[in-house]
């Protein structure tokens, strides 16, 4: 068993999908119980991984490796390091919660819904653990299909448009990545005389390719990941897809799918093409796009009249921070970027869940239709406030830790980067607080809001683990930085050989030390 920990993790939802498909479509409750059962089981099967994971080890752990297509050199090759480990944890938790939160909101075509959702879950888990680039591409593409259906069948008014837009954007990005993969694979063959897609084999090619070729290959990968992140100007699919998707779909999209872009950058694009990633043009361009994304996302959020669209655009802004951190190419930036990705995976699902709870009762997403909800929904108000604060980077909650670390990383490169990012934080606080004010505070102006009910127990159970996660990272982020430290250092060393011998102070350690001090100065903020 122990040597198949990772296979079991990604196969559990797939077995769940087959189980759901075997059930009769009329027995909706039975389907719900089975799907939720498999979601919980998916959570439980990660326990052996958590026990076996050693965060001080920078290499891939729990490796599984078998031949798959010898003619191509493709292998069934799995393993995790700190980056993948965190993302897998996020996926099983957020995936479980989205399946749970669909209980009453999905009433049509229940069987298909859960089957697609479990399929999606399996695909996402696969992406975060594969170390064979070919298999990675398979998981990466296959995941689009269930997401297309989830948006297209259960989404809002413009769902068909949103679904195909999401699909085509991502597909166009990925086929370019496929060309990049194949070129790399071909170069590997030319250099070493055998075909292989294994990540460690392909990593060796970088030493033999020139900076120009690496630059183009990096961008071939980057576009695929940037579409997923999504970075400005590749973000236009996101507001449509997020807004039209059902709540659980938005949660999964914001919580996990966007993180695949970040994960792809640190796992594949940056280490495979170090000269491409560190090229002056790349760094400046990516930083510029990130900053534009931060500011533009925040400004557009400010102007939204649709609650869900506002949250969707806030993702563009928040993910801009993450990519800015990654392109800073130093330990603070990269670990902060990945941690902030994780944070966003906790706080944005909270915001979408909050929208979903009132949407299920009122069936409108217009901010103007609400107002004074705090009078009727005390529990909801508290949880929604925590979600907002987590999202806008209030000290004591997770967003602050991530943004702070990214700012440190960005500041080490350029004071301008940090300056613009701070502007983004201010704008972020503005649109989120304004949203809170318009929706929750004041008297109830719309009589339809008189009858809204507060959250039920299931809704509280759905939000509670995410809120707990926000506080945990906000108050005691050390374990998370420890998990990220080894792979981050490895990546920085690969991008910039000799970085640590030149900077003896080891800034990543400093971030850990700093995080220990934080609890003392923040508890008052709630």
């Amino acid at each position: 068993m122990s040597e198949h920990i990772l296979s079991i993790i990604w196969l559990t939802p797939l077995v769940g999908m087959i189980a759901v498909m075997c059930l009769p479509k009329e027995s909706k409750d039975l389907i719900r119980y089975v799907a939720n059962g498999f979601a919980v089981l998916g959570l439980l099967v990660t326990i052996p991984m958590i026990r076996a994971f050693d965060s001080s080890n920078g290499d891939f752990q729990m490796v599984e490796r078998h031949d798959w297509i010898p003619a191509l050199g493709a292998q069934y090759y799995l393993g995790v390091d700190g980056f993948g480990y965190l993302m897998i944890l996020l996926t099983v938790v957020v995936g479980w919660l989205s399946i749970l939160c669909s209980w009453s909101s999905i009433q049509e075509r229940v069987k298909e819904y859960y089957a697609f959702f479990l399929f999606l879950q399996a695909g996402m888990l696969g992406v975060f653990m594969v170390l064979d680039v070919f298999l990675f591409y398979v998981f990466w593409e296959i995941m689009l299909v269930p997401m297309y259906f989830i948006i297209g069948i259960w989404g809002g008014g413009r769902r068909l448009y949103a679904a195909i837009k999401f699909f085509l954007y991502t597909l166009a990005g990925s086929v370019l990545m496929l060309l990049g993969i194949l070129k790399l694979y071909f170069d590997h063959f030319a250099q070493f005389g055998h075909y292989s897609f294994a990540l460690e084999d392909l990593l060796r090619v970088a030493a033999y390719t020139g900076p120009d070729m690496q630059f183009w290959l990096f961008w071939a990968f980057f576009v695929a990941f940037a579409v997923k992140v999504p970075m400005f100007p590749f973000h236009t699919w996101l507001p449509d897809a997020h807004t039209e998707a059902p709540t659980a779909g938005s949660v999964i999209l914001a919580g996990i799918l966007l993180k695949m872009g970040l994960y792809g950058l640190v796992r594949f694009a940056m280490p495979l093409f170090p000269k491409g990633a560190t090229a002056e043009l790349t760094v400046q361009l990516v930083a510029l796009l990130s900053i534009v994304g931060i500011i533009y996302g925040a400004l557009v959020s400010l102007m939204q009249s649709d609650w869900k669209r506002l949250v969707a655009y806030s993702s563009v802004s928040h993910l801009g921070f993450c990519t800015l951190g990654l392109i800073a190419l130093n330990p603070n930036g990269i670990s902060g970027g990945m941690l902030q990705g994780f944070n966003h995976g906790l706080s944005t699902p909270l915001l979408f869940l909050a929208v979903g709870i009132v949407y299920d009762q009122r069936h409108t997403r217009e901010i103007a239709d609400y107002g004074g909800l705090a009078n009727r929904m005390p529990v909801y108000t508290v949880l929604f406030a925590i979600s907002l604060f987590a999202s806008m980077g209030m000290p004591g909650l997770n967003g602050f830790i991530g943004e702070f670390t990214i700012l440190r990383g960005a500041y080490e490169v350029s004071i301008w980067w940090a300056g613009f990012a701070v502007l983004g934080i201010v704008l972020g606080a503005a649109y989120l607080l304004w949203l809170f004010q318009r929706v929750m505070l004041g008297p109830i102006t719309n009589p339809k809001n008189e009858g809204v009910k507060d959250m039920n127990l299931r809704e509280i159970i759905v939000m509670a683990p995410l809120v707990a996660g926000c506080f945990w990272i906000g108050l005691y982020p050390k374990p998370f930085f420890e998990i990220l430290e080894a792979p981050t250092n490895k990546l920085v060393e690969r991008l910039d050989p000799g970085y640590f011998s030149r900077n003896a102070a080891e800034p990543a350690d400093e971030a850990v030390r700093l995080s220990r001090l934080l609890p003392a100065e923040t508890p008052a903020s709630e």
């Binding site: 191509l72 259906f149 297209g152």
Partner: protein, 493 residues
């Protein structure tokens, strides 16, 4: 060309598939006239034809040990050579013909055109294609091509009472004859250049010529254009949508898969063996045609509302991809063509099998809208349809992906980066129209009188087998890559 007028056992051996097919074809005509017609169970003709396919399969298996070891069986003084390449293509034709026969049994019954000649024509066409893949002599190749084409002209117009079917047959005949004429003209120029009809001799003669002169260019252009018509490459693709739409659906599937594969077989033989030394002249030509074909095929498919027309343009676009395999002119490119064509048999036949079964009040339903809400009525088959569409798009891990994989790899390997980027981005365009089909099945609102699937055991088996193979080749491609990818390399020897 033959030294002596004698017919040896070797000659017989290399011609076996074609001979068996012709015998079975004639057998069907005779038994239909004197026996089956009296019983009144004319689907028995389909059974006879399938037995013929089984015999062909046995013969191909018999060739296998020889060609696997790299040997080539020569007959008729070198004009027909059975090598790995020929056997592979014969397998493709055999699979396509068998699937076409199975689908036709039900379809022609429903259309009231269940007749023995139809099955005989399927076999005669296959006999022609069989020689197109093994022939090494211009005259032999031309006769084989015409055998195939003449059979197809009749099959396309087989629905006598349908205006569209008649129109399609007429268009196909006129344009087909025109292209054959061009090809024959080109062949005559080649004979003039080399004084021989043997491909190998022509190849040597062309290599020995000092430079590329106008007579060579004339030969190249006329033969290319003739073949572009046959594979429906733009701008010579005009006949394809009308013919595909008008023909009986199983014939459409057969023409789109087998006739395309056979024409590519001929094209590869001609370009590799005879024109190999002047590759720098035809590679740019083919590259331009390939890009044009992908562009026109993919863009025109986007706006189609008729399923058969949509798949017709999709088939044009796939032709462009396959052509790129030849542009790369490398072992990887050839492998890509082989795997592409093999995968194409299953995914395309699968899609057409579903369309062939789709009926409303006994009438064939072929519009995109007829698929609306199909998922509610036949979930299992709709999932299969989605698999075929995803495979046609090239989503891994399905069979269609590996064809594109090898073609992209071949292009990158030869340094054609721009072509590769074009080809890759058109995948995203094609996803749009394949997803229109998926969208109709899953998300469309069912009409008042929805179309339903009218199937018999044969159609079901064909559909499920195509689906299973599309997934199986996708998930465990090793054996298929071994068999298909390696055997076609014989063409390069």
């Amino acid at each position: 060309m033959m030294d002596a007028i004698s017919f040896t056992l070797d000659d017989f051996h290399v011609l076996k598939p074609a001979i068996v097919l012709c015998l079975f074809g004639c057998g069907i005509l005779l038994t239909d006239a004197f026996l089956v017609r009296r019983i009144g169970q004319r689907w028995l003709n389909a059974v006879t034809a399938l037995v013929g396919e089984a015999v062909v399969a046995a013969i191909l298996l018999q060739y296998l040990p020889d060609v696997r070891s790299g040997a080539a069986l020569t007959g008729l003084a070198g004009s027909v050579v059975v090598d790995g390449f020929g056997v592979f293509f014969n397998v493709v034709f055999m699979l396509a013909a068998a699937l076409a026969i199975i689908l036709s049994a039900r379809y022609m019954e429903s259309e009231g055109e269940q007749r023995g000649e139809y099955y005989a024509l399927i076999l005669f066409a296959q006999a022609g294609m069989s020689i197109m893949a093994t022939g090494h002599d211009l005259v032999v190749l031309f006769v084989a091509l015409e055998t195939m084409a003449l059979s197809f002209y009749v099959m396309v117009g087989f629905l006598r009472d349908s205006k569209r079917s008649n129109e399609a047959a007429m268009k196909y005949l006129i344009l087909g004859a025109f292209s054959s004429g061009l090809l024959a003209y080109g062949f005559s120029v080649l004979y003039g250049i080399s004084g021989s009809t043997s491909l190998a001799a022509i190849g040597e003669a062309i290599a020995a010529r000092p430079a590329l002169d106008w007579i060579m260019i004339l030969a190249l252009i006329t033969t290319s254009v003739g073949l572009f018509f046959k594979i429906a490459a733009a701008p010579f693709h005009m006949w394809a949508p009308d013919v595909y739409e008008g023909a009986p659906t199983p014939t459409t599937a057969y023409v789109s898969v087998a006739s395309k594969a056979a024409s590519f077989a001929l094209m590869i033989r001609l370009f590799v063996t005879a024109y190999g030394s002047v590759a720098e002249a035809w590679v740019p030509l083919l590259a331009i045609i390939a890009i044009a074909t992908m562009t026109i095929g993919n863009l025109a498919a986007v706006t189609q509302s008729n399923l058969k027309r949509l798949l017709a343009y999709s088939s044009v676009a796939h032709g462009g991809y396959i052509l790129l395999g030849l542009v790369a002119f490398s072992a990887t490119g050839l492998r890509g063509i082989a795997i592409y064509l093999l995968a194409y048999v299953f995914m395309n036949f699968g899609a057409f099998a579903l369309i062939a079964a789709l009926r409303r009040d006994g009438e064939a339903a072929e519009e995109l809208d007829d698929l609306n809400g199909l998922f509610g009525r036949a979930p299992g088959y709709t999932i299969l349809m989605a698999i075929f569409m995803l495979s046609l798009t090239g989503i891994p891990p399905l069979a269609g992906f590996y064809g594109k994989y090898y073609i992209f790899l071949a292009l990158l390997g030869e340094g054609y980066y721009i072509l590769a980027v074009f080809a890759a981005l058109y995948v995203a365009v094609s996803a749009y129209y394949y997803f229109r089909v998926i969208r109709a099945c899953w998300l469309g609102e069912a009409a008042e009188r929805p179309a339903s699937l009218d199937m018999n055991l044969g159609t079901r088996t064909a559909l499920v087998a195509s689906g299973v193979l599309t997934v199986l080749i996708g998930v465990l491609p090793q054996r298929f890559i071994d068999l298909a990818g390696e055997s076609v390399l014989a063409a390069l020897r």
